[in-house]
Symmetry: D2
Amino acid sequence: MHYARIRGLGVVCITYGVGALKVINTTAQAYAEKSPVVIISGAPGLKEQLRNPLLHHKVRDFDTQKKIFDQITVASTILSDPQTAAFEIDRLLSAALRFKRPIYIELPRDVVSTSIMGHYRHPLDIRESEHSDPDALKEATVEATDMINAAKRPVIIAGEEVHRFELQDKLLALIDRTQIPVAATILSKSVISELHPLFIGIYEGAVGQEKARQYVESSDCLIILGASLSDITLGMFTAQIDQKKTIYISAEKISVRYHHYDNIDIRDFIHALVDANIARRDNSTSSSSSSSPTTLTNERLAIASTVPRCTHGKNISVKYVFEYLNSCLTDDMIVLADAGDALFAGADLIMHRKTKFLSPAYYASLGFAVPASIGAQLADQTLRPLVIVGDGAFQMTGMELSTAIRYDLNPIVVVLNNGIYLTEQLMLEGPFNNLQPRQYAKIPQVIGGGRGFLVETEDQFNNAISEALNFRNAFSILDVHLNQNDRSPALDRLTKNIAKRFHHSSN
Amino acid sequence: MHYARIRGLGVVCITYGVGALKVINTTAQAYAEKSPVVIISGAPGLKEQLRNPLLHHKVRDFDTQKKIFDQITVASTILSDPQTAAFEIDRLLSAALRFKRPIYIELPRDVVSTSIMGHYRHPLDIRESEHSDPDALKEATVEATDMINAAKRPVIIAGEEVHRFELQDKLLALIDRTQIPVAATILSKSVISELHPLFIGIYEGAVGQEKARQYVESSDCLIILGASLSDITLGMFTAQIDQKKTIYISAEKISVRYHHYDNIDIRDFIHALVDANIARRDNSTSSSSSSSPTTLTNERLAIASTVPRCTHGKNISVKYVFEYLNSCLTDDMIVLADAGDALFAGADLIMHRKTKFLSPAYYASLGFAVPASIGAQLADQTLRPLVIVGDGAFQMTGMELSTAIRYDLNPIVVVLNNGIYLTEQLMLEGPFNNLQPRQYAKIPQVIGGGRGFLVETEDQFNNAISEALNFRNAFSILDVHLNQNDRSPALDRLTKNIAKRFHHSSN
Amino acid sequence: MHYARIRGLGVVCITYGVGALKVINTTAQAYAEKSPVVIISGAPGLKEQLRNPLLHHKVRDFDTQKKIFDQITVASTILSDPQTAAFEIDRLLSAALRFKRPIYIELPRDVVSTSIMGHYRHPLDIRESEHSDPDALKEATVEATDMINAAKRPVIIAGEEVHRFELQDKLLALIDRTQIPVAATILSKSVISELHPLFIGIYEGAVGQEKARQYVESSDCLIILGASLSDITLGMFTAQIDQKKTIYISAEKISVRYHHYDNIDIRDFIHALVDANIARRDNSTSSSSSSSPTTLTNERLAIASTVPRCTHGKNISVKYVFEYLNSCLTDDMIVLADAGDALFAGADLIMHRKTKFLSPAYYASLGFAVPASIGAQLADQTLRPLVIVGDGAFQMTGMELSTAIRYDLNPIVVVLNNGIYLTEQLMLEGPFNNLQPRQYAKIPQVIGGGRGFLVETEDQFNNAISEALNFRNAFSILDVHLNQNDRSPALDRLTKNIAKRFHHSSN
Amino acid sequence: MHYARIRGLGVVCITYGVGALKVINTTAQAYAEKSPVVIISGAPGLKEQLRNPLLHHKVRDFDTQKKIFDQITVASTILSDPQTAAFEIDRLLSAALRFKRPIYIELPRDVVSTSIMGHYRHPLDIRESEHSDPDALKEATVEATDMINAAKRPVIIAGEEVHRFELQDKLLALIDRTQIPVAATILSKSVISELHPLFIGIYEGAVGQEKARQYVESSDCLIILGASLSDITLGMFTAQIDQKKTIYISAEKISVRYHHYDNIDIRDFIHALVDANIARRDNSTSSSSSSSPTTLTNERLAIASTVPRCTHGKNISVKYVFEYLNSCLTDDMIVLADAGDALFAGADLIMHRKTKFLSPAYYASLGFAVPASIGAQLADQTLRPLVIVGDGAFQMTGMELSTAIRYDLNPIVVVLNNGIYLTEQLMLEGPFNNLQPRQYAKIPQVIGGGRGFLVETEDQFNNAISEALNFRNAFSILDVHLNQNDRSPALDRLTKNIAKRFHHSSN
């Protein structure tokens, strides 16, 4: 999935039944967070299906598996007919590329070597059916341009679709031409360099960065550009977005205030905005303000260049971990933050030009980050992954580090080890939140590669990070022992807001 | 699932989305192999679903998850209405108990504390709708009795439904009254003590035990009692079963030769057979025969009491592992064999009275055994689990041993470590079958408990087993290094037959 | 539909929407009573469907109509792809011929002149997939033969499937060889000549002919051959059929007592029975009995040759109508009895060799008979239709007689005119049962052809029938005025039994 | 259905199977053209359904009928549970009233007398869920008002939803306040009195009235108010509507130019427009123009008050029929025009204040008008129906006039008798278009009431109409013999356009 996010398309090949049903959750995440993954599953031969009703791996009927994947893909097919196979494959690939979501292709065992018959009636042209209605496009562009030009303090919130539809260069062009400041969401973090002078931060309602919130919520023209508005991106619905002031642009529709345009492709609309007559802003006048983009970027620059003061022997804290990591991030690093405090605190990491930040910020499936680091580095070998993961999430999938060894990959894995499912604990206390302890630093001994570091103090952390950065042969894992009550300010805000919402809705 | 197999019902509680979709494969196995598991999933509140279309964890629509579970359960419900909740719960539990398959109950967050309204209109009586048609039952019983009495060498194949429907005592009663010999299938192995004087072995066509095959296939009256006839239980369709000589008894229907009876409950039919006037056999006359049940049981008794000759320093082999394990099995042990050679070779282990053998013999999902040992010992703490698992399967789920530590369980885990997906390799060679090596004996150091043994020779194996049996505080793990070409005779026969079938059907 | 019953396949071509939805009820009847009808519907062009969402005649979606027909056909298709069209057409025709039920083919307007592409991969061979399992066939034949031979008084009930699957000659062969007496049901009436010496009458439980009932219910071996067991054929469930004594043969399955055989084609089974070693009965010994087949046939012969005594000026009665018609029936006549007393009393008409009797005896849709007479005579122009129809049913479809004029057909239509929905009135009285009177004898003046007769007395009826038989140019219609309380003994028995059942089940 | 159009809700009670499936086409029309009809079908008792799989009238499964109605209703239910019955009935009635479309309620026979249990949890409040989003409503109202005020020649096209949602008074208020001219469609004809000074005619593209077309298509602001845009209302897509100048208001959505508003109830929006600050137009300045509303209304007034010149003995023509009818229409008459030339020519009839015009102008199902006249007069007994129907349509349902006699209704039925399916003939010639002739004027003799008139000349028509208007005891029927080549100018234009479209799309 993460390979797909970086490369634009990913493929997974699986066994019928026992293989396929193990990737359901991952496919669901790819659907929910829009990653175009091609799932190719084997299946019993068509003739065997007729003759032998009880083949092993079969669950119920031979089409049970397809029916399940139908729920979590945008298109699916069984390649049973050589006359239609070419057309079907094209149809499915187009769907994956158009909707940026997974597709499912089932290949019965006895057709693997069959030649495709017939002409290719519909050669793959994924843009074919996406042309915008030119009149609607024109009207919407004019209306949006007028609304932006009439505003005093417009702001852009750039979302994950900017990344999925490869619109990052166009976003930069739009910002450069208009000088409109831009925020990101937690799901789209790093869609733009966070040291860009017009970047104002991660907007997440009352849960996110306070200055970004003030800037966004005091704007008189909010341009939401490809951002899903979920409970998480809206900071547990603490976000104060006034629809009357909003231009909402997504792959599904374009909305201006309370009305909508259909049949406009998001790419066409962004291109049109770049070419439109939007006035260039002069942010210099407001640069004295404490919350001007320039000020905010300068603050981030300061943070990114400040190494926190290290006290020898002092117990390590979440705060120190992220401050120190902030000072170490380099252009060639990609950060993979798993669900939990790794993600919430990770929102405050400052992503340099060319750095990347990947997370399951909407679907929030634990155990995302370690496998993601493998996919990401395989997709782009010039990247060095930095994985930040809680101990709960690591226990689910962390042993995949042996795959990192197999393919000579070298992620740095920081395990935030507090012995507890912290996010859950903050909502409902109980012994079920306790984790069985593991010696994460000893994993290299089991899987025969990598280096492990036990970290209990600030200086140990500095040393471990330093060694890990220098050790490029294989992965490094840092077992960072944290106090169970320690947590990031971001998580603190979030869990309070979740609790508040739950109590309200229960009454 | 394995808890459910031992206790008659199991329950799993899961989070909406990310939790639920991770148990799809396991639920599918429970469906395919008939284990009654109650799946209770949380869900967003009904009101939240209306107001907030984009809650985290949601994949597509709020009912996407239920639609998926509909495919792999016998009944499902969303408890949204307090007036019907009691009725719905009863309906679902009845379905689980009647069909011995999983059910799905979804519980929106905002109804958790709601009181159930209305009268319990249909108190739970799972036998209610299962009464047999008395005339059909009578006719079928008479016909089966006549056919058995007319036969010279009837034989019973007892299947997994005998276990699922708790008919083991009735099976024993039937055998004791009639003295008819009995075989089992690989999926039902241990449904009867394998030291019972009338037990003749595991029947699996040309793939299974040869003497059992001869006995079964030369019988003139085959009583198949609750056994699924899949490609695996039929030894890749090498089984020679003559429908003209067969009485087939299952939860779905009762068949005699080429005709069928509907509306007969399997339990009623077994009860009726026990009470029927079936003649008592005298097997003594044939006891001279080399393949009489008595002879076969004596052979197994000899095997079970023979410790194989141990050569100091001699490389360990699959054959030695199983011969030695056979000599160690005691009444309080339960064997959990994962898919692969662990299962196929495991078929030759001799299960004593009260011992158990659990395997994914139909669904064949790798990674079954370690988690199953935890469920099994939790279900019955008097049991000591013996897990036999290949290295490929262990890499999928073996780290669950930390859960064994958490609950003070003490399985003995024998890892058959040959560095390769052997079963796959025998079908199609290639580097994708190679496994990344791990030091399984060092896992106790990572998860903080248990004992590890590195085993390369026969004497090391004897010592390790001996120590593991004496060490009862926590799990033991034996990393048994095998030659990559080593395999059990059973696997050899199986893969040859799979290959043969595949080549035939491709032509 | 009636054309299809006589010719083996019928076709109806209809307009999309307003045409198609008007034949739903008729298609449903064809499904319920097994008539193979090909429904070909036009549809908007595929391209128009894309471009123009609101074409006239469209109800909801463009596939709404197909979804409706899916419910009442055994197979359906939209011919949208020239590559698969040939295969699809073959598939559908096979289904119609195999299951004797309707199919639905939709033809978009813009593909009408498209050439079919590709090879005919599956040439039409409707017998291909119907071969019986030879072992099951053999076992079932032996078992049935033994059971019949062991019986003292076996009897056959021949049903409508004998007609639909063209097994009438085989039935005759079976009877001739074995001399087993045969009954029919009200739905299969005339499946065998009712003057055949072994025919014993229409069996319909307590509602049908008493002597037939006695014969059937005292039999010790009941061979039900292709008869649907519905509430009507079972005489509102007054039939006393003992499953222990029954061999039940149908297109769906073969049952003997309480067990069933799958995978036996009804045709193969009848052929096998004809060739089997079933003993020839000697019915002469019992010919003295008052209810021997010979006696019963002689009684029918007497009835069929007796002209009832006509009293000049005496008001006509239902009893007289049918007695007189019985004396007029000739070999070239086909009787079409509509639902209501026409059908129930019609059961007592004696069908000669080669005569036919068609009715909606299961689906019981009023208004069947007049249109059916047109289809029947078009299918076989050597037949002369005799339509017996109540005034209620006639008001629904009787004006179709103008179609009879158009195609030079000459049915004789006897309208049983009592001014009321009599069958309904007997169940629940009320003014809604009253019919608005019409002057049926004047219809020829409106539609410009045919002859009308007003009949109030016995002599008028004799004269009218006589003139109608001689007038062969066009239809004749007899408006037979009956007393509202007059009814046939058969209807009397039926409505009493319906009322009894309704009261029981309501308590 | 027509009762429902006049009264706001209609009910039909039907027998299971044979009754229900005969109203499929009518229900489909009610769905397509938005008439709220409640269909109540009986069904076998729930217990009978379990016990007796083969009850007469059943087609396939017991739920087959419901599945069919699911396709052509907005909601359906089976009242099987007394605990939920009250809620279900409310839910369905709300759906019918909200969407103005049919619903389906199935009532098993054995629950008819069951008492409803439980509280009425959701008392019927059909407005409950329809409140508009106030912000969207406000924005849309302001935008529409601005657009209308900025236009020079705005015009309203009032459609059938104005009638279905009972917005006729509001429409009048809007026109009176703003003096904006108004057109209707052929489906909404008579939604406003056609003598209203601001009414400009029926707009139907190139197929409709030319002056109305000019007026509408030269407008710079088109307010489409509740009109379906189908191929027929758009004059076979000859209508030239410029979306850039259009405000489109419907029950589904509100659109302005190329954008849309969701969540605005059509009623709220019309109310808001009436109260909005829309400028009052002064049409007097343009009254000199030949196509001003005043001029057009004066033309219609002239037509409506001109009796065409009658030539004694001259063959009657379509043109004369409609001109003469125009001069006879009075305020208490309702015109029911069947599909075909009756409808197309009928578009030119001038509907006075309070008169009505009902037609199947979208669904175009032949045979609509005679039954519709019965429903209409039963719904409002102060109306006198004038039915205009072709001979083809009349042959389908005309005998329902006997129902008119039963209920003392007195429609005047004008049969346009040309012996042919004229509309079909114009598209594709062939003998299948010929109709079997009938003597329609003699129908009164058959059904025992009403008066018939044979009309071949203009003077005969005048006399017959005159007598029919004076004869109020029962129906009158005029059999108007037309030349087969005679047709209205409207039909001429229509068929030419259909033919043009078909030829284009075939190429």
